[in-house]
């Protein structure tokens, strides 16, 4: 793992949403997964900005699909989580779970 490949909160959310969206994930389904889980409107542009940062860190890879008529002839950009991205998510999960565990303030509180 690269020592400086920190994951921001939103980047982690995008990575998890990308994993949830599965294969052939592009901007729209990723944004929908995030909206459903956070119950907030998400800017698709922000999702792309986060995905670009993740791609620069080597945690995500992308390729362009074929243009389709319902998208005005614009191609989709498909994303997938790389092995390094998966490792990074696991690391973040471990860190967060260990921080969460045993906090009396959060015991019995509604999520």
């Amino acid at each position: 793992m690269a020592p400086h490949a920190y994951l921001g909160e939103f980047e982690l959310i995008v990575l998890l949403a990308l994993l949830r969206a599965g294969e052939n994930a592009y901007g729209v389904p990723i944004a929908r997964v995030i909206e459903e889980s956070t119950r907030r409107e998400v800017a698709i542009g922000s999702v792309y900005a986060a995905l670009e940062r993740l791609e620069q860190k080597g945690l995500v890879a992308s390729h362009l699909g074929e243009p389709t008529p319902e998208r005005g002839g614009r191609a989709k950009r498909y994303f997938r989580v790389t092995a390094a991205g998966l490792r990074q998510v696991r690391t973040a999960q471990k860190a967060l779970v260990s921080l969460w565990r045993g906090l009396p303030q959060l015991e019995g509180a509604k999520a």
């Binding site: 729209v28 998400v42 998208r71």
Partner: protein, 214 residues
């Protein structure tokens, strides 16, 4: 009522103001999603994309805000002093201030740099010891360096004024711009330095970034 096509102006802005090679995919995504959304949603998405993608525009917007705030403050202060000091004994007439030059200078720095810098940092939620210190340091540097800069600029500027007078008549607009630049330069420098130090600190300390969810 749902439109079949997104607002044309928003589409144009998306195509021309968003930098990078993601525009095509983003445009397609927004068009695909627009069919179950509203024009207002499309506008929000476009503005968010512009602010999120275009660092140049973001810098431009921050610059505009900084300059606008500095100009508004300095001119506002001038107006308040000019129109609210009915008598020599009035508080705003400044007669209560000792006439020594260092005191006047300190009062000027306080009202034209320190106070607006604090207000700006408080409004933008960037108020901290570090941002205040760096901002005030930069403002003071400009105040100290301004006379020397003016001295070197005086001759070429006078030549320029002569040229404008010969070609277009009264150069009062240029003179006013020159005075405005002089009056606002310390405050602009102070705000910029403070804002820059905040940005650098953020980049260094916090990788957490969840920008532009609306």
């Amino acid at each position: 009522m749902t439109q079949s096509q997104p607002p044309a102006v928003a589409k144009w802005m998306l195509r021309h103001l968003v930098l990078g090679d993601r525009t095509e995919a983003l445009e397609g995504d927004l068009l695909e999603e627009f069919h179950r959304r509203s024009p207002a949603w499309y506008w929000r998405q476009v503005f968010s994309a512009i602010l999120g993608f275009s660092n140049l525009l973001r810098i431009g917007w921050a610059t505009f805000l900084t300059v606008a705030f500095a100009v508004a403050w300095v001119y506002g202060m001038c107006l308040v002093v000019a129109h609210s000091a009915p008598s020599p004994g009035h508080f705003l007439s400044g007669n209560w201030i000792p006439h020594e030059e260092p005191v006047w200078m300190a009062v000027g720095i306080f009202f034209y740099v320190v106070v607006p810098l604090f207000i700006y940092l408080a409004l933008t939620r960037n108020l901290s010891l570090r941002t205040c210190g760096l901002g005030l340091g930069a403002g003071m540097l400009v105040i100290v360096g301004l006379p020397s800069f003016q001295f070197h600029l005086a001759t070429p500027f006078n030549h320029f004024l002569e040229y404008v007078r010969a070609r277009h008549g009264n150069p009062i607009v240029w003179l006013r711009l020159y005075w405005a630049a002089q009056g606002t330069a310390p405050l602009i420098a102070a705000i910029w330095s403070a804002a820059l130090s905040k940005t650098k600190m953020d980049n260094f300390q916090s990788p957490v970034a969840a920008p532009h969810e609306s």
